[in-house]
Amino acid sequence: MQNRIDQLFAKKQHGVLNIYCTAGFPELNDTLPVMTALQQHGADLIELGMPFSDPLADGPVIQDSSTRALKNGMSLHTLFEQLAGFRNTIQVPVILMGYFNPVLTYGVEAFCAKCAEVGIDGIIVPDLPMAEYENEYKPVFEKYNLHLIFLVTPETSEARIRKIDSLSKGFLYAVSSSSTTGKDKDMNDQQAYFERLKELQLSNPVLIGFGIKDKATFDAATAHANGAIIGTAFIKAIENSRNIDETVKSFIETIK
């Protein structure tokens, strides 16, 4: 079967909305209700965060969601239990995002096998460097038809962007500014960088993330890329939600 991420970009090249949510947040068993609501109300892609004790690339909001999910009892084992059978109801592509240590401890091959079994399409591991992936783990991810999605930043050289593009599958995650997640930086300052990415005519679609929080930032980002990723703003929206479906619906309405 063709990877669902590829299927998505085959039919939609503009305005792709990817929403991030930490698994097991705000409550342990909210993972599937959040995913269901995201699909229902128009998210094109779902990025599910695997909580970690030491999320180095994340700002305070996503850190706190991770801490709360861990306190709720979330673990990789529990997550895979929750995800068993989710493909019966959810068709949009789903990506797992998380740090390398829990994956390494789970066992990289066992992790990939489990992802394939439950129906995960792609993986983002921000602290798995390109060289390590290429030398050691690429065949395993490919064996299970999992797309590994790499990040590029405004500081990434053109040569390195091309190299990352050649190793990435699914799409490229373009970090809008050099920062942890959830930082406010002026999107207009990033326009030159977005233009530059566009001019490179990369082989992968590009989604822009970090600092996308509302319609204005979403539109600014998607003017130059295939879509954008929202994380921190969504976590803030649902952290005190009493009705997940309602909250997700109204959040997405403000973006689209």
């Binding site: 970690f52 004790s53 180095l56 801490t67 240590n101 829990p102 602290d127 390195r160 920062s179």
Partner: protein
């Protein structure tokens, strides 16, 4: 005083990919790639530049007060029936070995054109050493420190502030050294161009473990010369050092790594007992994983969540060890022991009363294992006395009143 550069084909030195055996590497997010790549590609050429070495040497001599004495501890030797020497890093300016590394890194930062310095600190010794060199060079300094450590190391917090540094409390996670390091790394991600991160221990992404070990290697370089003058041989039977991340141990072992007849002893913090649930004995409790961008041994749950260590000593309260030490442990080159909080306290009192030296709580862990080594009376033992105990007086006083 040369910074060790040409180390040949050591089994224990870093390889060209940044690994020690299967440990090490640079598991960094892409946002840190330019910063780390800049260091990786430039640190060796900067360190080997004669003008850099001259400046480093001059500051170590005139500012830090090196060479630090190698002191024959007569009464301690009588008690343990061996020849015990103390490498007096506690007599350095700022009171610990940490300043060897911060002098080196601030000179490196200047050559890289950085004007803002960040650091993490546990006991505050590295924070003070960093604030000191920033004042010396007129650079902005931000130190991240766990909010729990800020409470238990108040004198060092005051020193950093007096030296002009901004001390930022790390309030995430266990609110100790691990979390201060996370916050420093996050700061670096957010300030990729103008900022140099002075990491204080032989851990973190390549090239930090190697770079810090090289700056600290002055410790074993001096031991060799001093021991030769005092005993006729530059090689002791034992080198003993405490280990949190492992910077004083890395420096004390460095020039002995390939002398397999010199026994290397690393003492971890056993806390309230290795299996009490309140310990920082990483090699006994840890498994392989990634902490602070390095593949090494660390304390974690079966689900890969990094756990919260415990030690009475803020400087050893770290759930990992540097990758060089993980390799020394796994290869059997170094013997790893652990000392409990109580053993370390007893050793601190013993050194104070026998030698008139109040050691740092961290260094007391190394002293605490003298009683467990199978010492013979002709044995020569060097203990790295990594720091002085002024900062720990409150802990010592509390214990005294018990």
């Amino acid at each position: 005083m040369d910074i060790a550069i040409n180390t040949g084909n050591s089994r224990y030195q870093v390889d060209k990919n940044g690994y020690y055996g299967r440990f090490g590497g640079a598991y960094i997010p892409e946002m840190l790639y330019p910063n780390v790549e800049e260091l990786q590609s430039q640190y060796l050429s900067i360190l080997s530049d004669p003008s850099f070495q001259q400046e480093f040497e001059a500051l170590l001599t005139d500012y830090v007060g090196r060479p630090s004495p190698l002191y024959f501890a007569k009464r301690l030797s009588e008690k343990y029936k061996a020849n015990i020497f103390l490498k007096r890093e506690d007599l350095n300016h700022t009171g610990a070995h940490k300043v060897n590394n911060t002098i080196g890194q601030i000179l490196l930062a200047k050559r890289l054109g950085k004007n803002r310095i960040i650091a993490e600190t546990g006991a505050g010794q590295h924070g003070v050493a960093t604030a000191t060199v920033c004042a010396l060079m007129g650079l902005e300094c931000v130190v991240y420190m766990g909010s729990i450590d800020i409470e238990r190391q108040a004198p060092n917090v005051a020193r950093m502030k007096m030296l002009g540094a901004t001390v930022v409390p790390a309030t995430s996670g266990s609110r100790t050294l691990k979390d201060a390091t996370n916050e420093a790394i996050r700061d670096w991600i957010n300030n990729p161009v103008d900022t140099h991160y002075i990491l204080g221990t032989a851990a973190g992404p390549h090239p930090y473990p190697d770079m810090v070990a090289r700056f600290q290697s002055v410790i074993s370089e001096e031991i060799k010369k001093q021991l030769l003058a005092k005993t006729g041989s530059e090689n002791p039977d034992y080198v003993v050092a405490c280990i949190g991340g492992g910077s004083n141990a890395a420096g004390a072992y460095f020039h002995y790594l390939d002398r397999e007849d010199v026994k290397l002893v690393a003492v971890e913090a056993g806390g309230k007992g290795v299996h009490s649930g309140f310990s920082a004995a990483t090699t006994q409790l840890g498994t392989i994983g990634i902490i602070h961008a390095s593949k090494t041994l660390l304390m974690q749950t079966s689900d890969g969540q990094i756990t919260e260590p415990h030690s009475i000593s803020a400087g050893l309260d770290y759930p990992g060890i540097g990758p060089m030490h993980a390799h020394l442990y796994e290869s059997g080159r170094a013997q790893f022991l652990s000392a409990t909080d109580d053993e370390a306290l007893a050793a601190a009192y013993e050194l104070s009363l026998l030698e008139g030296i109040i050691p740092a709580m961290e260094s007391a862990h190394a002293l605490a294992k003298l009683k467990d080594l199978p010492l013979k009376k002709e044995d020569v033992v060097v203990v790295c006395l990594s720091g002085r105990g002024d900062k720990d007086l409150e802990t010592y006083i509390r214990h005294m009143n018990k």
